[in-house]
């Protein structure tokens, strides 16, 4: 039976080549966009380099102070983070680092844009950066405010060119020379909490890291012993924040949370707006609209296509096909079309991702097709096939045999 459906599906596709082209184009183009989107999301949210211990880590990257009329929200100060997380008993280690900041440096009179970031020594224990040479700075070097730097591979290439090793050489950033002691693999800028070109001890910062204000440029990662420590650390941090006094009279509340990676990644910095909700809603609306249009288009084309075959429907019904069998037949035919579109879409996606990677639109971001993406793509195809096939198939299966034969 399936073989028969397959034969007729291929014959119908060949019969109206323009319709087939429009249908296949709609499916494959939409699929390509969705594949690129999922590859992007998957890379940004799913890739756990260099925070490989994500399952037992919590991220603190916002503090909000609010009163009746005023509200301030920002990353936190080094003092606030080290002081209050220092009181916590559950975390085994706490990584504190500033958000990356840009400056310019010059090599052979050529300007290079450089991003740098300050960290404490524990940062290198909590996170698992891959060192291609050298090693991280230690507590002693941080305490001594040694002018040492860890740089990314990309920075190494840009600043020093194609050389085998750069440990011991000096790099200039923000008009200061730092001795390179390690080189790490690149982190894409989409992982904005951990990305940088140059990593420096926080003690060399020109800004006052001892200032007791709550807000500043820093964030922290709390590392637990096991994933089971997550709720404990969250509760501990919440109870500490509940006791933190407000800084100024105009404020009444201080909010800050230790969140899991995704929550903190999309944190809006506003207590009343959930970043997760906004992101999930935005993606859902985008995907819905993007799949709705080709689906409607397919429904329309399918109706026309099936209408042309009313004589066939009449004959099949006369010779024993029930409405249900016909719905099944048209669904199978439509699935063949969408799967074909899916295959084309997958090939197009490979090309699109290759082109995006080569265009170097986003620093250090390498998108790739993986099984999750492929699975999502095929699932989307399946949904497409069903959505665009069910209605026309149902409508046609209800057609009166005599009317169908006369048409």
């Amino acid at each position: 039976m399936l073989k028969n459906y397959f034969k007729i599906a291929i014959a119908v596709l060949k019969r109206r080549k323009f319709f087939t082209f429009i249908s296949l184009f709609g499916i494959s183009f939409t699929l390509t966009i969705l594949m690129v989107l999922t590859a992007f999301i998957n890379k940004v949210v799913g890739d756990n380099y260099p925070d490989k211990k994500r399952d037992r880590s919590l991220y603190i990257n916002r503090l909000q102070e609010s009163g009746e009329e005023n509200m301030m929200s920002s990353t936190l100060s080094y003092y606030f983070l080290s002081h209050y997380t220092g009181m916590m008993k559950t975390p085994v280690k706490v990584a504190i680092s500033s958000m990356f900041k840009g400056t310019n440096t010059y090599v052979n009179n050529k300007k290079i844009a450089v991003n740098f970031k300050y960290t404490n020594a524990e940062y290198w224990d909590v996170l698992d950066y891959d060192f291609t040479e050298g090693k991280p700075f230690n507590k002693q070097q941080v305490t001594n405010a040694d002018r040492v730097a860890i740089i990314s591979e990309d920075m190494k290439r840009q600043y020093f060119g194609d050389v085998a090793t750069v440990v011991g050489k000096y790099i200039e950033a923000d008009n200061v020379d730092y001795r390179v002691i390690g080189v790490v693999k690149n982190v894409p800028v989409t992982n904005y909490m951990l990305y940088s070109d140059i990593y420096l001890p926080y003690t060399v910062s020109k800004e006052d890291y001892k200032s007791k204000g709550y807000l500043g440029a820093y964030m922290a990662i709390l590392l637990g012993n096991s994933p089971g420590d997550i709720p404990k650390m969250q509760a501990e941090y919440e109870s500490i924040i509940a006791r933190v006094p407000v800084e100024r009279k105009e404020f009444k509340h201080v909010y800050s949370h230790a969140n899991t990676f995704f929550r903190s990644y999309v944190d809006t910095g506003n207590e009343k707006q959930s970043g997760v909700f906004i992101v999930v809603t935005a993606i859902s609306i985008f995907v819905f609209i993007f799949t709705l249009l080709p689906t409607l288009n397919l429904v329309n084309i399918n109706i026309t296509r099936i209408m042309e075959r009313s004589s066939e429907i009449g004959v099949r019904k006369a010779f024993g096909a029930s409405s249900k069998t016909l719905v099944y037949q048209f669904l199978v035919e439509n699935l063949i079309l969408t799967i074909l579109g899916g295959v084309i879409g997958t090939v197009l996606s490979v090309f699109a991702l290759y082109a995006i990677n080569n265009a170097n639109l986003i620093d250090n971001l390498e998108l790739s097709i993986n099984f999750t993406v492929l699975f999502i793509g095929l699932l989307v195809c399946l949904v497409f096939g069903l959505l665009s096939g069910v209605y026309p198939a149902w409508r046609m299966s209800k057609l009166n045999v005599v009317t169908a034969l006369k048409a």
Partner: protein, 221 residues
């Protein structure tokens, strides 16, 4: 074999009601070859469609092989048609995208058969109508007479007890028409198939066992 009792068919639009069949009662015996004649629009095809369970009467009862068909749902009707009835249409209604063999095996798709069985039965039916050498052709590559023979093969492939033919020779010249009629007569004679045929052709009608005439939806002979 087929018993129609007081069949009435009314077509309704917003403003007009048309009585297509007016209290038609008919008994057709097993193995009988019956022809239905009458002017255009007299309800011949409507009657045949009702007999073939392709259309429902507005009133009246249809019994086929002593089974009441009134209360059957879509699936039961489909199965019943598949087992008991074969159809031949004036304009053949072959699926042009499928080869002759695939067209003929169509009724078997809706039965519990293997692909091999279907192939064999379809080839056998085609041999019976003299088209054993056209299995891989597409309908558009055949003449009108050959197409109608494919349609007959499709109608008989499931070995139904009843064949309903709606002007099977209507689109053919007299030589081809006679060929088709000969095949139908053989089916009736040799296999005992009950055949009901709607026709405009007096000569063809007189070759059958019985002739029923309709006029304005009523039986006049």
């Amino acid at each position: 074999m087929i018993r129609l009792q007081n069949i009435e068919k009314v077509y309704r639009t917003d403003t007009i009601e048309t009585l297509a069949l007016n209290s038609v009662s008919l008994d057709i015996a097993k193995g009988e070859f019956l022809s239905i004649m009458g002017p255009s629009g007299c309800g011949k095809s409507t009657l045949l469609n009702i007999m073939g369970l392709l259309d429902a009467p507005s009133k009246g009862e249809i019994r086929i092989d002593d089974q009441k068909t009134g209360g059957m749902n879509d699936k039961q009707l489909a199965q019943f048609r598949n087992k008991k009835l074969g159809f031949i249409f004036q304009s053949y209604h072959l699926i042009n995208d499928l080869q002759v063999l695939d067209n003929v095996e169509l009724p078997l798709l809706y039965r519990d058969t293997t692909a091999k069985q279907r192939r064999e039965l379809a080839a056998e039916a085609l041999a019976k109508v003299g088209l054993a050498n056209r299995l891989k052709h597409f309908p558009t590559q055949l003449s009108g007479g050959q197409r109608q023979r494919v349609a007959i093969a499709r109608a008989i492939v499931g070995k139904p007890e009843i064949i309903l033919a709606d002007e099977p020779t209507g689109n053919l010249d007299s030589a081809m028409g006679n060929e088709i009629m000969e095949i139908l007569l053989n089916l009736n004679r040799n296999d005992g198939t009950t055949i009901v045929m709607v026709t405009h052709d007096e000569n063809m009608a007189h070759k059958t066992h019985r002739l029923v005439r309709l006029f304005d939806g009523a039986q006049v002979q």
